[in-house]
Amino acid sequence: MKKVYVVDGARTPFLKAKSKPGAFSSGDLAVGCGRPLLERQAFSPMQFDEVIIGAAMPSADEANIGRVVSLRLGCGDKVPAWTVMRNCASGMQALDSAYMNILAGKSHLVLAGGTDAMSHAPLLFGPKMVNWLADWYGAKSFGQRAGVAVQFRLAYLAPVIAILKGLTDPIVKLTMGQTAEIVAKRFGITRQMMDAFAADSHLRVLAGRAAGHFNEIEPIIDANGHVYTEDDGVRTDSTPVRLAKLRPVFDKVYGNVTAGNSSQVTDGAALLILASEEAVLKHNLKPLGAIIDSQWSALDPSEMGLGPVHAITPMLLRNGMTLQNLDALEINEAFAAQALGCLAAWESDAYCQEKLGLDKAFGAIDREKFNVDGGAIAIGHPIGASGARVVLHALKTLQRTGGSRAAASLCIGGGQGGAMLLERA
């Protein structure tokens, strides 16, 4: 099979959403990491065959944000660009679409990745307010207007928070956190285990940062001259003891999933450059690695967190590999319960037999190879960008450690899993 190379990649610092919209829009973030990425290439941005951007919640004024980003990055009028949406795996979907088009020989050089400014998620009017407004604009005479006016209720102004809608499964009516509670229950994952995992995630990021493992981050500057250089959701004080004090936020009072052992609501973008062998030769590129396979799988939406198990397992099997053959594994930490659930599922004979059709448990992975530099609990999870982040960081890890193969995967709200198999150049 033809190879699809990852030439280079960059991401912004992931910026935790505060109470107000952050300094950067989705487009700003993608441009922020894309400009230094493109500036260090030997070819011109106008030589891309296409630009593909994953975005789960672009703002209303960034319709087809892929095209917005492409033009803002100076790719010129003639480079087509599009936007993909697959919830939490939108960034990975962008990479996979680029991968497929390169495999098909339709494209040779593609800019792909994802972006989301979750702090910019809009507040919406509820249906009652929308109906009232329609009546108001429809009213012609003063009398009609007066009639509509008296029907107004202050309660109509209560906003619908778009981000909460987006993070609730519309079919099973569970929040993403509740699906994590279900996975925890299935595998007996306790609150202590979740908090310990979360604390470890922060420690791993801090250690990785100190060791210089995050050189894919490009600092960004806002219009007020503030510089953002690092993921700002990472905490030095996230100990199990402190995490234990937090209240559960999804299944309130009696649940186990807290804000502290969940991924953070974050703004961020990650972009990669994918190239065919032909393009690598033509522009004399030095690839970071290659994508050698990809897989999408689906499962019960109420256990969406186990999606990576369903995506990675068949992908490894058809390549004649097991978890032990991986030198690095990046699974997006949507929730500690969900990440631990994936590991538990692979180690469970019953689950692997029932759900994956295997004879026995698929096996265990060395914790030192799994999310070696921490994950979304500490770094944050800008849903459009995370898929591109895990692929980029897995490749960076191979480059650093000299390992040969890695996998990157995410669980996807709605009950899916996406995965990519990667190798070092």
Binding site: V31, P36, E39, R72, G74, P219, I221, A223
Partner: protein, 680 residues
């Protein structure tokens, strides 16, 4: 269709509308701009006769030129007049023709796109209606005041009636331009639409002509007798804050023309100071017109106006300090891709913040601000070096550090890319030592604050190739600055001439003359800001460095500035210098007193004039005209006096030499006349 040399008249048979295209010398392809020569005016008069003989149902006047409606009077013809009577005759002609337009017995409409200046605006005002393009390039103005004259073809008469005197005087006294949106809000135009809809808009309006625009009551009353007097006196007070009547008579003449003569210059008695004869005889007018034309000459140094940028699309700026950062921001605002390099992002961040503020103020529209911000790329890694067409180095003024940097970046630069230094003092041949391509090194010297200072010195080292000089000049024109080629010698032109003036002012301060008095004297001469205050604004550290660099052996060196810099009192930026600074304002303790200021400004300005003479003699600039233009646009040197050389010529060489002699005897060699006085 009927054609004249500058006009084309078409009738649309289906609705009997007439379409009059202004297309100056359209037989000549190189004529891209409409201006009113007396020939064009006389032809327009013939068009009027034709229209009166065959009256259409309505007339639309529009421009066939891409760049705009009309740029005003033909300045070359205007300046070729030998006597004031010729200028006056042209004024009468313009008034008569535009009065003819205004008297046409059918609805008339001006369709305005691009620039509409002076006479263009006055023609539009003579029509019943005006429709303007809504783009950012469409601008309307009455800028006559900038060259020392009045809007004399009916502008001063019709605009106050149309939109009220307060708004009209504001436009006429500042010369500033308004875009379509603003013009509509002011009542200056009746509608705003993209140019692509002009024909449809004209038909819609002329088929069913509405009542012509009437000013709101509050605007209308500004023309009533008593209120008119109040407004005139308020306007005079406003103008007095910015310009003295003996230096700049035109704004005062505009107020007088409107208040007492109905805005019609034909009504003004010849001997009145507001008459065209008086203005034409005033030296300021000739000086301002000369500067206006020199500005055009400098623009022409940037190429033929075909919009070529010397092949420069991507600029890489190294050093994100005040100068480097602001140069980068300016270039990105003018459409170039800019990578801005410094040691870390934190050093680049203040430049990004300043750029954001500049774009918000200048570009206004959020999508334009975003596009400019996107073009300005922080580049700590210095990746831009390998792609750019031009590197502008703006790092610390140290030849060794600069040379080390050049050695590192030159091998990475593309062949044909230009290496430019923003150095204000280091000779280029010194910086070129060790370069592989010394012919590609040029000085591109901006002035602080970059966004306000029009002038950019293009410094030619002995090793700089003519091609690189040409491309550097084209680049500077492309970013809407005025390029001035200068030879590489310490201080180049502007700093070299400014320094002896600043130094003398500081010596006077140390002799005990109050700073306020010195500054007042300079302003009486016509400087926009006094030298002591200016030193604080520029930064005493910067001033000291330049002063030391350019110090000539045997001349005294001011001490106070050294003490202040040593005490970290650097002027406005540190809150204390020669003055204390509160909220960006110098705290002046007392007025200038009652002393005679003339000897003070004579003593300060003569060293500058003497240095200007030396620069011309040494060929630092091509000629005395460019010397004056450089000093005016680089320092604000008394524009109404026309620059140092023009000042010398108008006062008289002998008189100034005599003054020099007296000062030389009193203060020593720094007042010794340069040998160039003999030939200037």
């Amino acid at each position: 269709m009927q054609t004249w040399k500058h006009w084309r008249l078409e009738f649309s048979p289906e609705d009997s509308l007439a379409w009059l295209y202004f297309d100056k010398s359209y037989a000549d392809q190189s004529e891209t701009t409409n201006t009113f020569s007396s020939e064009a005016l006389r032809e327009l008069s013939a068009v009027c006769s034709e229209l009166k003989a065959r009256p259409p149902s309505g007339l639309a006047i529009l421009s066939a030129k891409e760049n705009g409606f009309a740029a005003g009077a033909d300045i070359d013809e205007f300046t070729s007049f030998k006597t004031p009577d010729e200028a006056y005759a042209m004024t009468v002609l313009g008034n008569e023709v535009f009065d003819d337009i205004a008297a046409l017995p059918f609805p008339t409409l001006a369709l305005i796109h691009g620039f509409c200046m002076g006479g263009g605006t006055e023609l539009a005002l003579a029509c019943c209606y005006r429709i303007m393009d809504d783009g950012p390039k469409s601008k309307m103005a009455l800028p006559e005041v900038m060259i020392g004259i009045v809007p004399g073809w009916g502008g001063a008469k019709r605009m106050p009636v149309l939109i009220g005197a307060a708004q009209a005087l504001d436009l006429m006294l500042t010369g500033r331009s308004v875009d379509g949106k603003k013009a509509l809000r002011m009542g200056l135009v009746d509608a705003v639409t993209p140019r692509r809809h002009f024909i449809n808009a004209a038909k819609t309006l002329l088929h069913k002509p509405p009542a012509p625009h009437q000013p709101a009551f509050k605007d209308a009353i500004t023309n009533w007798p008593v209120i008119r007097g109040i407004i005139a006196s308020q306007s005079r007070k406003q103008v007095a804050k910015r310009a003295r009547q003996d230096h700049y008579p035109a704004p005062y003449a505009i107020i007088d023309l409107w208040e007492n003569f109905g805005g019609d210059p034909r009504q003004v008695p010849r001997e009145s100071p507001s008459s065209l004869f008086s203005l034409a005889a005033h030296p300021t007018t000739a000086n301002l017109i000369r500067i206006f034309k020199l500005q055009d000459r400098m623009k022409a140094l940037g190429g033929d106006g075909s919009g070529k940028s010397g092949g420069i699309q991507h600029v890489h700026v190294i050093g994100a300090g005040v100068m480097g950062g602001d140069i980068a921001a300016w270039c990105a605002m003018r459409g170039l891709k800019v990578t801005l390099q410094d040691l870390e992002h934190a050093r680049i961040a203040p430049a990004i913040a300043r750029a954001a503020a500049l774009y918000k103020k200048r570009l206004k529209l959020p999508h334009l601000v975003q596009a400019a911000m996107d073009r300005l790329i922080p580049d700590v890694a210095g990746n831009g070096v390998a792609h750019c067409d031009l590197v502008i180095e703006a790092i610390v003024e140290n030849a060794d550090i600069k040379k080390t940097l050049y050695a590192a970046i030159e091998p990475r630069m593309r062949l044909g890319a230009i290496l430019a230094s923003n150095t204000s003092s280091i000779p280029l041949h010194e910086l070129s030592v060790g370069l592989m391509r010394p012919e590609c090194l040029v000085g591109i010297h901006f002035f602080n604050p970059v966004a306000q200072m029009m002038l950019v010195e293009i410094v030619e080292g002995a090793q700089t190739s003519a091609e690189v000089m040409k491309r550097a000049q084209a680049f500077v024109k492309k970013i809407d600055k005025l390029p001035l080629p200068v030879k590489s010698a310490p201080g180049f032109l502007v700093n070299r001439i400014l320094t002896p003036y600043m130094t003398e002012a500081q010596i006077m301060l140390e002799e005990g003359i109050p700073a306020e008095t010195i500054d007042a004297a300079a302003k009486e001469f016509g400087m926009p800001m006094g030298p002591i205050e200016l030193a604080d604004v520029v930064g005493l550290d910067v001033g000291l460095a330049v002063g030391t660099e350019l110090h000539k052996p045997g001349n005294p060196q001011p001490k106070k500035i050294q003490e202040l810099v040593a005490a970290k009192k650097l002027g406005k930026k540190s809150g204390e210098g020669f003055y204390n600074w509160i909220d960006g304002k110098a705290q002046k303790s007392h007025g200038s007193g009652t002393v005679d200021l003339a000897p003070l400004w004579m003593r300060m300005t003569l060293p500058a004039v003497n240095e200007a003479v030396a620069c011309v003699r040494e060929g630092i600039v091509a000629d005395a005209d460019l010397c004056d233009a450089g000093v005016i646009f680089g320092t604000g040197f008394a524009p109404h006096r026309g620059g140092p050389v023009q000042y010398l010529r108008s006062v008289g060489k002998e008189k100034l030499l005599a003054e020099m002699k007296v000062l030389e005897e009193k203060y020593g060699q720094r007042f010794t006349a340069d040998t160039g006085w003999a030939t200037i």
